[in-house]
């Protein structure tokens, strides 16, 4: 009996054995990257890791303005942009030089309908791309687009590999500051920093408690975001863990179905906004790791603006509801859809309680992500909550509020139609002057705060926690992992 058992245990030990690497900087992720081909990656983790692997034409500054990365640009006409690649040593990780032909091949492959890139729609107005020389290329558009340079932030692949149909989903080949070392399994991806051969191991640890325990034991060196506020507070109180936070731009909101007989009424939406005590939720639930929001874009964004905060006034909410014809005998009854994420569900129950204090009866409907998202896309809701993560372009206003953006053409989920909103968005999108655009967007955001197709809730903070021995990591406002370029481990 004992002998077979020993043999079995030895077999298991051999089967399960994987080499460890304590010199690598280990970065814990809540979800693993799905795709390392920048033409196809859509999830936030893949996009953040792809920024490390691939160079791109355009990047963003702290105010989310597009700035040159690989290339600077000139607008030669309303439909014509010229990009010149910089003098820096641009090489793919296999030694090939990155040229304008690679840029053209990357964007042409995105535009090829057969490739079915999810980014094709945002670039579909590119009429043609012409390569002028090894360092220069021209983009010709079918329609005017003042935000066009900001759309060219996709990583560049080698033209030779694209031509031969090479798969980059799991074998990325870029020219960024990191290259792929190994994708060990679904949960562990290892990159190497090309400058000093420092290894970075990204490890998926789905359970937040386990992520924290691994950090405490030194099995991982860094984690960023995706922790419940209690765990963040716990880490803050420990002397052996460094925690840094900074204001983020993940915008949480409550959306409404504007065709509904209740939520389609502005007084009802105003009453809901007045009934919510954001300050209390931020203080007691988020432990101050969020700030109140009044618009989709935060005030520091170049197209953002300072707006008065939404006040908490349950009495005023009750008065509005009475004026709208609701009473304790005939209360306002609403259904509120949310995902099955425990934290989102907890927020939903708090909102339910706060709305009850203003006489609004809310039934929470919680679904798995696929079902929830399907319902939201189909407009099958009265009220729901979601977040916009890492939005940089003011194009979000056209996408979420323009009457031409009803699904499937955009994300105007609540079927909001307002001529003034359309007019302001169109004016901003055709203006070539940035100050003028900002002015239109400021007017638009003030008007949206009156009409409330969304009730803005808060912007969640960005944070990271690092174990002892890790130095040089700094948070980016958009949650990117770019600071790994300067991070060291003793």
């Amino acid at each position: 009996m004992v002998k077979p058992l020993v043999v079995l245990l030895c077999c298991l030990a051999l089967a399960a054995c994987n080499p460890g690497d304590s010199a690598a900087i280990c970065f814990a992720l809540a979800s693993a990257p799905a795709d390392l081909d920048p033409r196809y990656a859509t999830d936030a983790t893949s996009q953040r890791i792809n920024r490390l692997l691939y160079a791109r034409l355009v990047d963003f500054d702290a105010q989310a303005r597009p700035v040159p990365s690989l290339a600077s640009w000139q607008q030669l006409g309303p439909f014509h942009y010229r990009f010149r690649l910089g003098a820096a040593d641009r090489r793919f990780h296999d030694g090939q030089r990155l040229t304008a032909a690679d840029v053209a091949a990357t964007y042409r492959s995105i535009l090829d309908p057969a490739g079915a890139s999810p980014h094709r729609g945002a670039l579909a107005h590119i009429g043609r791309i012409e390569v002028r020389d090894a360092d220069t290329l021209d983009f010709f558009l079918d329609r005017e687009d003042v935000l066009f340079p900001a759309r060219l932030s996709i990583g560049i692949l080698p033209a030779s590999g694209i031509a031969t149909g090479q798969s980059y989903h799991r074998q990325p080949l870029g020219s960024g500051p990191f290259r792929l070392y190994a994708w060990h399994d679904a949960a562990r991806l290892e990159l190497v920093r090309t400058g000093d051969e420092q290894h970075i191991l990204f490890e998926q640890v789905s359970d937040p408690t386990m992520r924290v325990l691994k950090l405490l034991r030194g099995e991982v060196d860094l984690l960023q975001n995706d922790l419940p506020p209690e765990l963040l507070q716990y880490l803050r109180e420990r002397s052996d863990i460094e925690v840094q936070t900074r204001p983020g731009n993940t915008f949480a909101y409550i959306g409404f179905q504007m065709q509904d007989k209740d939520t389609g009424r502005r007084d009802v939406r105003r009453a809901i906004a007045l009934a919510i005590d954001r300050e209390a939720i931020i203080r007691y639930v988020f432990r101050d790791a969020a700030r109140p929001a009044s618009a989709v874009l935060p005030p520091e964004h170049w197209a953002g603006t300072e707006l008065p905060p939404l006040r908490h006034d349950p009495a005023a909410a009750r008065a509005l509801l009475t004026r709208a014809g609701y009473s304790p005998q005939q209360p306002l009854r609403l259904s509120y859809k949310t995902s099955s994420d425990p934290f989102r569900l907890r927020i939903a129950t708090i909102l339910q309680r706060q709305l009850a204090q203003a006489g609004i009866e809310v039934a929470i409907r919680s679904y798995d992500w696929g079902t929830f998202y399907g319902d939201i896309k189909a407009g099958n809701f009265q009220m729901y909550s979601l977040s916009w993560v890492g939005e940089k372009s003011p194009d979000i206003f056209r996408y979420a509020f323009h009457s031409d953006s009803l699904p499937p053409r955009g994300a105007n989920r609540g079927r909001f139609r307002d001529a003034r909103v359309d007019d302001l968005i169109d004016s901003a999108l055709t203006s070539s002057d940035e100050a003028e655009q900002a002015q239109y967007y400021a007017q638009l955001q003030r008007y949206l705060l009156e009409e409330l197709p969304y009730v803005p809730l808060w912007y969640e903070d960005q944070f990271f926690a690092a174990g002892s021995g890790v130095a040089g990591y700094r948070l980016a406002g958009d949650g990117s992992y770019d600071a790994l370029l300067h991070t060291t481990k003793q």
Binding site: L12, C17, M210, Y373
Partner: protein, 310 residues
């Protein structure tokens, strides 16, 4: 025996066909669209129809079902919609991890449950019995999502013996296997005890005792051998469930197994992967059931004789 095996394997084909077809239609029927899940909220103006066409999701459902069945016959389960990798390679990677965890958890469960059940039955009504069944009750009551972190606090953070989570060598297998094994042992030990108590009043046990055999020799050689059938049934069911993936334990310990792959794929509406997982899980159950039936024949030769007389 060969005819029996052939008939069981034929039955297995029908079971897998039925289960995978039901799951195929159910997963397509529930709300949610893989293309929408893939594109996310913030992808503006993406060409959804082109992507749907490229993934073959715009074809009629019956045509997709036919393609799926044709693929299964050729051992081609298609590509993951989300990860753009062959489903078979994903399953291969995850099934090995699940099998490792299941095997060790199963061994731990048996090593705990059988001695515990035997002691409880042999010392029925004593403190030993109370302690053994108390342990069993505790194992049943403590959920794995609580026991797991508790074991990590003690053995990983406190004593530093094992890694917290992940699949990085044999040491990382120990805590998830104990978490999973103890809850299985709790049920199994109660079954061992009750099965043993049933046979201990039989005439052949009295005869063995009258012949002067020692207490534990009677208990293990005669009692346990005759109590095996219900225990084997339960063991088979437990092993089948383990090979189907232990979702909670896998999630807590970040173990990249089949259960977590199935749940992730359902959430993403990654139809080919869901179908692949269900096929593997149903195949596991069929194989384990077959093995359990064969084990019955080993444990009780009368079953084999009965079949021959048929």
């Amino acid at each position: 025996m060969p005819a029996y095996l052939v008939s069981r394997l034929m039955l297995a084909v029908w079971v897998m066909f039925g289960v995978s077809s039901v799951v195929f239609f159910l997963i397509h029927w529930v709300p949610g669209d893989p293309v929408e899940v893939m594109l996310g909220e913030s992808v503006s103006g993406a060409d959804r129809e082109a992507l749907r066409h490229a993934l073959g999701l715009d074809r009629p459902l019956l045509q997709q079902w036919g393609a799926f069945l044709y693929g299964v016959v050729r051992f081609d389960l298609g590509m993951s919609l989300h990860q753009r990798e062959p489903v078979l390679s994903l399953l291969d990677e995850r099934f090995v991890a699940t099998a490792e965890l299941a095997a060790l958890a199963f061994v731990i469960a048996v090593l705990i449950a059988i001695p515990l059940g035997v002691v409880a039955a042999a010392r029925k009504g004593t403190r030993w019995d109370t302690a053994a069944m108390g342990f069993s009750l505790l194992g049943l009551s403590i959920p794995n999502f609580w026991l797991g972190p508790l074991l990590v606090m003690l053995f990983s953070l406190g004593l530093g013996w094992f890694p917290v989570s992940g699949r990085s060598g044999f040491a990382s297998l120990v805590l998830p296997a104990i978490t999973l094994g103890t809850s299985l042992a709790a049920i199994l030990s109660r079954m061992v005890r009750s099965s043993l108590l049933e046979v201990l009043d039989e005439d052949y046990i009295r005869t063995a005792r009258a012949k002067g055999l020692g207490g534990y020799r009677v208990l293990l050689g005669h009692g346990l051998r005759n109590a095996w059938l219900p225990i084997l049934t339960l063991l088979g069911m437990q092993l089948g469930a383990l090979l189907g993936g232990a979702v909670v334990t896998e999630a807590v310990f970040n173990w990249p197994g089949l259960g977590s792959l199935l749940v992730e794929s359902i959430q993403r509406r990654d139809y080919p992967v869901v179908q692949g997982c269900v096929l593997v899980i149903s195949l596991s159950y069929v194989v384990i059931n077959l093995c359990t039936d064969l084990a019955y024949a080993w444990a009780d030769p009368r079953i084999r004789l009965d079949q021959e007389s048929d």
